[in-house]
């Protein structure tokens, strides 16, 4: 990936809605940005703030957390709390001189092929607009 202009994106995706979106995007042979890696989770609530910070410290340009709709989490709404926790993390990022837009939270948007592709492409475009190299 050295020298690539494509932003490096780490996607944490729960295995329900967004996991399905990822599979369907593949089945439809949609084209996705070249710089993303997907980590499957049982629930988006598994994503710890530590992991997000670690990702940025490893030189990753953007972190995306994808989960189910906020009212449709099968773990009795664990994603609600996850949302609050990760939104709070955004404040912290600011203090670490990481642009808050480098963390993207997506709830229930990536369940189908085209929306999954759209979500990832949108995030990658956002990252391209941010200046590279401005991370702590």
């Amino acid at each position: 990936m050295r020298g690539s202009m494509e932003p490096k994106v780490l996607i944490f995706a729960c295995d329900w809605c967004p996991g399905l979106g990822s599979d369907r995007a593949g089945q439809d042979r949609l084209s996705l940005p070249s710089g993303f890696r997907l980590v499957r989770l049982d629930c988006a609530a598994q994503v710890s703030g530590e992991w997000v910070i670690k990702a940025f410290s490893e030189g990753i340009d953007g972190v995306m957390v994808m989960g189910c709709h906020l009212d449709a989490c099968r773990h009795q709404g664990a994603n609600h709390r996850a949302h609050k926790k990760l939104e709070t993390l955004r404040w912290l990022l600011d203090g670490l001189r990481i642009e808050p837009e480098r963390l993207c939270l997506s709830w229930g948007m990536g369940r189908e092929a085209l929306p999954f592709q759209a979500e990832v492409q949108k995030f990658v475009s956002t990252l391209k607009l941010l200046k590279t190299g401005e991370k702590a």
């Binding site: 399905l20 089945q27 189910c68 709709h69 009212d71 449709a72 369940r111 189908e112 092929a113 085209l114």
Partner: protein, 426 residues
Amino acid sequence: MTGSALIIGGGVAGIRASLDLAGMGIPVHLMEREPFLGGRLLQLDRLYPTDHCAWCPVWPLLRQVGSHPLITIHSSSEVHSIQEEAGAYQATIVHLPTYIRGERCTGCGECLWACAKKSTVAGREGPLPILRPNSYVIPKVFAINRNLCGECPGCQEECPFGAIDFKMPQETRLLKIGAVILASGFDPGRLEGLEEYSYGAHPDIISAMDFEAWIAESGPNAGQVLRRSDGQKVERLAFVLCAGSRDRRFHEYCSGVCCMYAVKEALWACQRSRDLWATIFFTDLRACGKGFQEYVQLAEETGRIQFIRSRPGRIQPMGENGALRVLYEDTTQRNTREMIVDMVVLAQPIIPAAGSENFASLFGVDRGRERFILLPDDKFLSPATSQSRVLACGCCQGPADAVQSVISASAAALRAAEILAQRRAA
């Protein structure tokens, strides 16, 4: 084996019943006429009142059905005949050929791409003959619809596993069955007879089931709410409930689920489009289940969904690809009014699925009022039909939502287990 159960219908009711019976140690034959299990539920986008996507609660059930050692799935299958002998049934099941050998198909999709390319080159439109299993359906193998297929060997050449076999024969299985559960579900009723609603005269007068597919995220517009006539965004949407239901001309009964799914569709249309206003024309707003009134409140709180107690008298297209005029009597104001909208969704009735007539006669089971499978009153304590070894659950015995179907399916499974136990003891 006389100790087996036959479940007819692989929708959510059939799936639930088969898991319950298999869980109780009883071998199950689950029969489904389509190539994939899941039934009508998987055709929906969302479920009320939780807004779960329709596949999400069904997916784990499907996985279990697909891997349970006691469940034999007969997909693309039909019941050909039934013979009663010695207190059991001998069922002749026909497996219709799908021309793709399940054990060799890996879901790679090379066949589909080859077919799609050929169709584009040939300038052909319409659905492709190759049916693709979605990532969550069972069985996870492709199927070919022979009626649409020209039988060029294109897909066969592309398949890396030699899975395509145009010579695949129809197969017949003989099953010894001790108890039967009918779970054949529903079909959407026809709207053509409702002349006052001009269904078919304008592309933006659409049935509720079609509308749900139309605005689905996985649908043709990736979730946008557009007019079918000119592709413009829908800004004013109307839902007409009881279209063909509670109507002495067509179906006198209430289809049970329409009030709630209209609210669901209105809510989703409003979520997908910030500029959209919806009106729901209803007679009685039957939101009586668990969580239903709160769901209706959610709709009211959007500020963009209004409820008008009225059954519109006429829907008039205003010119080809024009808007639609809805004429109605506002029963609370007692005056006649008209509303101009971009699209009208008609909540069509639920009728017993086309196959149920066949099953009823095969098993000698009575149909009740309105042609649903009859559960005689004297059998108050179980979902048994007029034949003691045949049970019915889900929509084949009356309009029911997913939750009600699942409950009746489990009760039917319990009763089937009792019947089989008596047989074993006897």
